[in-house]
């Protein structure tokens, strides 16, 4: 898509500034969006992309600056005004009510709240037409709770289209999709642009930005640091603009795997809600090897993580630890068997926000000497441990007595990493270990994991980010509907080939095997 000189400006951001306490999330950001254009908003985690779009959409109010849509200034802080002006937003975390149907979710808030009826029939026809026009197939009467991640995203896009949005904002839309689904999404976006819509595409993935956008805006630390036509740049230059330095991929030296430390054979677990359980999984974790688990979220990753982490018992199959473990399988048993765990959600499961760093540091070991003796806590020993982690893992914090909620995500993750690694684990379960971290913290975590692997630990890396899995793993499994693909050695499969597996093809009996 070529630049569109002289095309109508549909959206203008002027001097948007937003502070959260001492942090300047957006620093005087201005840009225009033209009709029929796809702008990519590129920046690493924490660069301020989402904040900027939330201001544009009215979820936040800016401290300074204004938003103009089709020449009209939007009143700050009113999503309703943004919607009425023709702005539609597809949020990174879907904003759907699970207990309602697709149609109900789309209809929500479209008419007057006080009108007596929902005009469901006409609405359904319109939704079906939009689905066909934009290639967004989803059943209008299906309960949202029963939909896959890809389908939910289609509902989000339909919500915007149903309101006749002229400007679409998509916040990291591909993070949860398979490569094939991403391609389909891009098809939809191209159709939208052909129909005269304008799009802001938020991402930190360079190849996608190169594929879909006509212009790239780069955000770093809340500032707009660059603006280039996509045709006139390449991935390398974009990467440098985004990070301020060249990105170095993690280096994984070849290494022969060691002995098996955990063997899962035919493991099954109970399904939970809409997510499938594991249905007969075989997996061997070996010393000095990183196994990457690729897959669209919600395909059984949590079940596998909980199983290895001691939070769930299998309903079938065998799970053998070397050396063998007997007795109940629980988080404590897992810890005692040398399994270290980095949980998926560091805020909800990894830490207790109102606890101090010290209290969080001993969360998994508080019961053991020297932190606890005969039921009494030894707080000075605990503080010593916290201090050690703070030093060794470079945790930036006011001190061990500070509440952990005051820390940035990266520092919080470093504490969790330190807590896990200092126990000298044999097996490391790393579930989305770098999600939402900035590039510095990402590199830190990755290097520590590689070091642990080189020191002989068996690592299971679970990630939705296929690039991360491909860069870091000795062996890759794809998980789909609770089934596990064969192990693919590093470099054997291309992203597109893995994407086919992520979409469920290749599993016994094809996509419908599950």
């Amino acid at each position: 898509m070529a630049g569109r000189e002289g095309a109508e400006v549909v959206l203008r951001l002027d001097g948007i500034t937003k502070r959260f306490g001492p942090l300047v999330a957006n620093d005087a950001i201005s840009f225009d969006l033209k009709k029929g254009e796809v702008i990519a908003l590129l920046g690493e985690n924490g660069a301020g992309k989402t904040t900027l779009m939330n201001i544009l959409f009215g979820h936040y109010t800016a401290d300074a600056g204004s938003v103009e849509v089709f020449g009209q200034t939007l009143p700050p802080g009113h999503p309703r005004a943004a919607l009425a002006a023709g702005v539609g937003m597809v949020h990174q975390h879907f904003t759907l009510a699970d207990n309602m149907t697709v149609l109900e979710n789309i209809l929500l808030g479209t008419g007057s709240l006080l009108s007596a009826r929902l005009n469901a029939r006409a609405a359904k026809a319109k939704v079906q037409k939009l689905s066909a026009d934009f290639g967004l197939s989803v059943h209008p009467d299906a309960k949202v709770g029963s939909l896959s991640v890809g389908e939910r995203q289609r509902v989000e896009i339909l919500k915007a289209l149903y309101r006749d949005a002229r400007i679409l904002i998509l916040d990291e839309p591909t993070a949860v999709l398979t490569p094939q689904e991403t391609t389909a999404l891009f098809e939809t976006l191209r159709k939208a642009v052909a129909l005269g819509l304008s799009i802001i595409f938020i991402s930190h993935k360079l190849n996608e930005v190169m594929a879909i956008s006509s212009r790239v805006l780069v955000l770093r630390h809340g500032r707009l640091v660059g603006e280039v036509a996509t045709a006139e740049t390449d991935r390398h230059r974009l990467a440098e603009m985004m990070v301020g330095a060249e990105i170095t991929a993690p280096k994984l030296a070849d290494r022969a795997p060691g002995a098996a430390l955990m063997t899962l054979t035919g493991i099954r677990t109970a399904p939970r809600g809409n997510a499938p359980g594991l249905s007969g999984i075989d997996l061997t974790l070996r010393a000095g090897q990183i196994i990457g688990l690729a897959g669209v979220s919600g395909n059984g990753q949590s079940a596998l993580a909980d199983l290895i982490g001691g939070l769930e018992m299998p309903t079938g199959g065998t799970m053998v630890l070397h050396p063998e473990h007997s007795g109940d399988w629980s988080p404590r048993a897992a810890l005692a068997s040398g399994v270290a765990r980095i949980p998926e959600d560091r805020h909800k499961t990894g830490t207790v926000a109102d606890f101090t760093l010290t209290e969080n540091a001993v969360l998994e070991a508080y019961e053991n000497a020297p932190y606890s003796r005969k039921g009494w806590m030894d707080w000075s020993a605990a503080e010593g441990f916290a201090k050690k982690i703070i030093e060794t893992y470079d945790v930036r914090c006011p001190g061990p007595e500070a509440a952990i909620r005051l820390l940035s995500g990266g520092n919080m993750q470093k504490l969790i990493l330190g807590r896990a690694l200092e126990a000298g684990p044999q097996i490391i379960l790393a579930n989305q270990p770098v999600r939402g971290l900035d590039i510095g913290a990402v590199t830190f975590v990755h290097n520590r994991l590689i070091a642990a692997r080189d020191a002989g630990a068996a690592i299971l890396l679970i990630s939705e980010d296929l690039d991360e899995v491909m860069a870091l793993s000795d062996l890759i499994h794809v998980i789909y509907e609770g089934h596990l693909s064969p192990a693919f050695p590093r470099g054997e499969k291309t992203p597109a080939e893995l994407g086919v597996w992520m979409a469920g093809q290749g599993f016994e009996g094809g996509a419908d095997a599950a």
């Binding site: 990894g350 207790v352 606890f355 606890s372 009494w376």
Partner: protein, 349 residues
């Protein structure tokens, strides 16, 4: 409007806001006094005088505070683990029943042995009463707020049955009350001649014990972790269900001590009006103390003072004594709001 967290609230915020909450409460009290046709200053003065104006008044306040310290501690311990024990009233009566059961001649022991035995048995009863709702919560996911509340009503009916049936005082002339405790089962006064019994000392000791448990022991650490983030606690290997049960046993036991102390220290027998809602008042006491066990002692004395003061004010000034209940409910609501505003800032845009 929206709320934004304040990482490090200033001292002004931390002390000013709670003070403002109390000021607002006093303001409302004045308005109520005006409404009742009384002079607000005189009314407040009378409440103060009634609560602490004389040695007698002060002792009365401390006496009234005693059961509130126990129920306040029971609530503070439970709420710390986000266990919503609203059933301190039922547990209190459980303790009272056991006290009468064992204190009316069932155990021929000397007083120094008998009293601890009764106290422990009472605690056990209270603990068991809370165990039901807690197991329903941890095993079945039944909300404990409603079950503990409903248990209060069931317990009161049970006491009514006991007092009209098996535990009826034969010399009671038809009144539903239990026989009086033996002398050996009565808690003596701390100082002969002053109307303050050893229950008060036991309450203070309990507060210190709870404080030590919360800050120094492994169990205390577990309770706090479970209360602040049960999911993280479970992930880290803390047995959340077991911690809940232990918390419940402690909480129920403390509430039952209120019943023991009232019967053995003050009343000498069990009647249906043993507790004028001490279980519910415990919630206010605990919240005003920010769930701090040592703070519970102070807030219980404060709350008791308002009730005792309002009683004597009502007789003198004609303002209904229920003004105390309104004040305490207001204090509770304004205080939780003040606390929230200590750590968050309201942004109107």
């Amino acid at each position: 409007m929206r709320l934004e967290p304040i990482p490090n609230p200033s001292a002004l915020r931390r002390f000013g806001l709670p003070t403002g909450a109390l000021a607002l409460t006093v303001l409302i009290a004045s308005a109520l006094a005006l409404l009742a046709g009384a002079n607000p200053f005189a009314t407040l003065g009378l409440i103060l005088k009634g609560a602490a104006g004389s040695k007698f008044a002060l002792l009365e306040t401390l006496n009234r505070a005693t059961p509130m310290i126990f129920t306040g501690l029971a609530v503070a311990v439970a709420f710390r683990a986000k266990l919503w024990n609203i059933g301190a009233e039922a547990q209190l009566y459980g303790g009272a029943i056991v006290t009468v059961l064992l204190g009316t001649g069932a155990l021929p022991l000397p007083s120094l042995l008998l009293l601890p035995v009764i106290a422990l048995a009472a605690m056990l009863a209270g603990a068991l009463i809370l165990l039901g709702p807690v197991l329903m919560k941890t095993r079945l996911g039944v909300d404990e707020v409603v079950t503990t509340l409903l248990f209060n009503f069931i317990m009161l009916l049970f006491v009514s049955y006991l007092l009209e049936g098996p535990m009826k005082d034969p010399m009671g002339m038809g009144w539903p009350k239990s026989p009086a405790l033996d002398k050996a089962a009565r808690l003596p006064r701390i100082v002969e001649g002053l109307r303050l019994h050893w229950g008060f000392a036991l309450a203070i000791l309990s507060a210190i014990a709870v404080w030590v448990i919360q800050t120094r022991t492994t169990l205390g650490y577990e309770i706090r972790a479970v209360g602040l983030n049960a999911e993280a606690a479970r992930f880290a290997g803390i047995p959340v269900g077991r911690v809940m049960v232990k918390t419940a046993l402690l909480s129920g036991g403390l509430a039952a001590l209120a019943g023991f102390s009232e019967v053995a220290g003050l009343k000498g027998n069990l009647t249906l009006d043993l507790s004028p809602g001490f279980g519910y008042t415990g919630i206010i006491v605990a919240m005003l103390a920010l769930l701090n066990p040592l703070g519970v002692v102070i807030s219980a004395i404060f709350v008791a003072g308002v009730f005792v003061g309002a009683d004597s004010m009502s007789r003198a000034a004609g303002v209904p004594t229920y003004i105390a209940d309104i004040l305490m409910a207001t204090a509770l609501l304004t205080m939780v709001l003040a606390l929230k505003l200590t750590t968050t800032r309201v942004r109107w845009r």
